[in-house]
């Protein structure tokens, strides 16, 4: 198998961003519903929600753009 047929590194990065984005976004939403007992500084910004959403969106973009099935077609 030639290296040119390998899955792109950017696809792997997309996968990791989708997984982490989902985890962090989910944890952020949970924190909105059930406020933490020991909140971090500036907890009211709900960084987990928007940072998770940004990672998830970037991840989806990369997974779609560098999808190995798309390359074979």
């Amino acid at each position: 198998m030639e290296f040119k047929n390998a899955i792109s590194i950017w696809f792997f990065i997309g996968i990791v961003l989708v997984v982490y984005g989902t985890f962090i976004f989910g944890a952020g939403i949970y924190g909105l519903i059930v406020p933490p007992a020991k909140p971090v500084v500036l907890n009211e910004l709900h960084a987990g929600v928007w940072w998770g959403a940004i990672l998830l969106a970037a991840g989806i973009l990369y997974v779609v753009k560098f999808n190995p099935k798309k390359k074979k077609d």
């Binding site: 792997f12 990791v16 962090i24 971090v40 907890n43 960084a47 987990g48």
Partner: protein
């Protein structure tokens, strides 16, 4: 888990576990693509400029980088940024435009390999052995640093951290060689940014913006200028680092920086994996563009901590009082702002940084060991045999690194000597490589004796200061010079000595005929024209843009 800075929740543990599973999965997946020596040691020389460039930078984002420079920013203020800007960017651009053509056209597998072609076996052997020694030592120290951080931050057992991280790196580098190391380094680079960028963003909101942050720092540390790059270094006494601008410009900006970024095979190897000469020239330029931005996730958190978290002290004082040391500033800031999930991502970013540095050391060691130490001792070896040796060398490198980590655990003072290693081996190498590439009169004997004289003189100066501290005033021009300043001036001296010996011996010995220097030396090599490329496709254009940004940043933060 008591006494740790942060405690992880289930979601954080899941994030870290997923990272380990993914890097191992990538290693197993890439094994099928590493059949030949070129595949294993040079990633098939098929990397795009972006992948080679990000990997070039990520290999440098190791243990001492993320934690160490945040701590340095807390200790020395914005002066620490010099190590990212003038102490890196000009050298990276010089590598791209001036040196890369010779490394790439010569088709060398390594920097010692280039020295063999240019100067002969003696220079190759000397630089290969010193590089191998330095690399595994650095790798072990990185490993120990990581384990120590995990102990302090998370309360993890130090042996658990050492073995889990080293076995993971050993598996994925042994399976996929440089290709696997590069893939994981690019992944790690993205994770480092995703995990660390949130700290300065939220920190800036808390501090109320740059201007208010500066006012708070001035109020917290009256009388110290911690927020200007150049204003305070007009004299040795005017700044907290005890350094003069000449040390920054010539010691750091030239010798230390050029030595590391242009001759340390750990980083140069990543660029040699590029698919063509243009990609090889663009890779360090792309790396330089991102390098300029690294202070925003490394230095800025340290500065923000000066504003919002004053009172961190040195390590010994922290141990005595039970307080926190500024060496822990990055995890402390992480714990301050990152809730569940984000904390796991931040810790993963730290682990990724540590592992990319370790993988970089181990893959470079395997290449130098195989091509520059093992192969010259054998009359004839097959390519498949070299791949096998490379895989075993990777395992050997990891085992020696683990041994070094345990050695450092017993003798913690070894950590203080890390920076000194650089001035011993890399600073003189810069003179040897530069004369080799740019001066056709430099002879084989001159290359060897210059390198040896530079290395021995550097070690000699280090021993001299250890035996007689008054020597510091001679070597670093000031009895007030701190360790960083001393290292810089020692590096400058050793490079000058190597250069002087190279010049003198060259005039006393017979040079190689020009026909033997084709592809190795400027003036004897016809470089491919870039005339067919549009302006915005030429590396020199992007090097100019990066240089202009560097100048602008230095003016803004003057």
């Amino acid at each position: 888990m008591t006494g740790s800075i942060v405690s992880l929740g289930t979601i954080d543990i899941l994030i870290i576990a997923f990272y380990f599973a993914l890097v191992l999965g990538i290693g197993f997946y890439l094994k099928r693509f590493t059949k030949t020596g070129d595949d294993f040691f040079m990633a098939g020389r098929k990397m795009t400029s972006w992948i080679a460039g990000l990997s070039f930078l990520a290999a440098n984002l190791g243990a001492l980088e993320l934690m160490g420079w945040s701590a340095a920013a807390y200790q020395y203020g914005i002066l620490a940024t010099h190590w990212y800007w003038i102490g890196a960017i000009p050298a990276m651009l010089f590598l791209a435009i001036i040196m890369m053509p010779f490394y790439y056209i010569s088709k060398t597998h390594s920097v010692p390999g280039y020295l063999q072609m240019r100067y002969g076996n003696a220079s190759r052997a000397l630089s290969a052995v010193s590089f191998g020694f330095m690399t595994v030592l650095m790798s072990g120290i990185n490993m120990y640093s990581m384990a120590l951080v995990m102990k302090v931050v998370l309360g993890w057992d130090i042996h658990f951290s050492i073995w889990v991280s080293s076995v993971t790196v050993a598996i994925y580098v042994t399976l996929g060689g440089l290709l696997s190391a590069i893939f994981n380094e690019v992944l790690q680079f993205v994770l480092i940014w995703a995990g660390a960028l949130l700290i300065p963003i939220i920190g800036m909101i808390e501090a109320g913006g740059w201007h208010k942050m500066v006012l708070k720092i001035q109020a917290n540390f009256a009388g110290l200028d911690l927020t200007h790059l150049w204003r305070s270094i007009g004299s040795f006494q005017g700044n907290v680092m005890g350094i003069h601008w000449t040390g920054i410009v010539f010691g750091l900006g030239f010798v230390i920086s050029f030595g590391y970024w242009t001759t340390d095979f750990l980083v140069v190897q990543r660029v040699l994996s590029a698919k063509d000469l243009r990609a090889a020239k663009m890779a360090p330029i792309i790396g330089a563009g991102f390098k300029m931005m690294v202070p925003f996730i490394v230095i800025l958190p340290g500065l923000l901590a000066l504003a919002v978290m004053p009172g961190l002290v040195g390590e010994s004082q922290a141990v005595a009082t039970g307080g926190h040391s500024y060496n822990e500033v990055l995890p402390l800031m992480l714990a301050r702002y990152a809730g569940p999930g984000l904390l796991g991502l931040g810790i993963t970013a730290l682990i990724a940084g540590f592992m990319s540095g370790m993988a970089g050391n181990v893959s470079a060691f395997a290449t130098v060991w195989t091509y520059d130490i093992y192969k010259p001792l054998r009359k004839s070896v097959t390519d498949a045999h070299l791949v096998k040796v490379g895989r075993w060398a990777t395992v050997l490198g990891v085992i020696i690194s683990i041994g070094t980590a345990y050695l450092v655990m017993q003798f913690a003072s070894i950590m203080d000597y890390v920076q000194a290693l650089f001035s011993f081996f890399i600073a003189p190498l810069l003179a040897t490589v530069l004369f080799g590439m740019l001066w056709k009169r430099a002879t084989a004997a001159a290359g060897f004796w210059g390198l040896l004289a530079g290395t021995l003189s550097s070690i000699g100066m280090w021993v001299w200061v250890k035996l007689d501290p008054r020597a510091l005033a001679v070597i670093a021009f000031s009895p007030n010079a701190k360790a960083m300043s001393e290292n810089m001036y020692r590096a400058l001296w050793s490079c000058c000595i190597a250069a002087l010996v190279t010049i003198v011996v060259s005039f006393l010995t017979k040079p190689k005929p020009e026909s033997e220097l084709v592809g190795l030396v400027r003036g004897c090599t016809e470089l491919p024209s870039e005339g067919d490329y549009k302006l915005y496709q030429r590396p020199i254009f992007w090097a100019g843009i990066v240089l202009a940004c560097l100048i602008a940043l230095n003016v803004v933060f003057w």
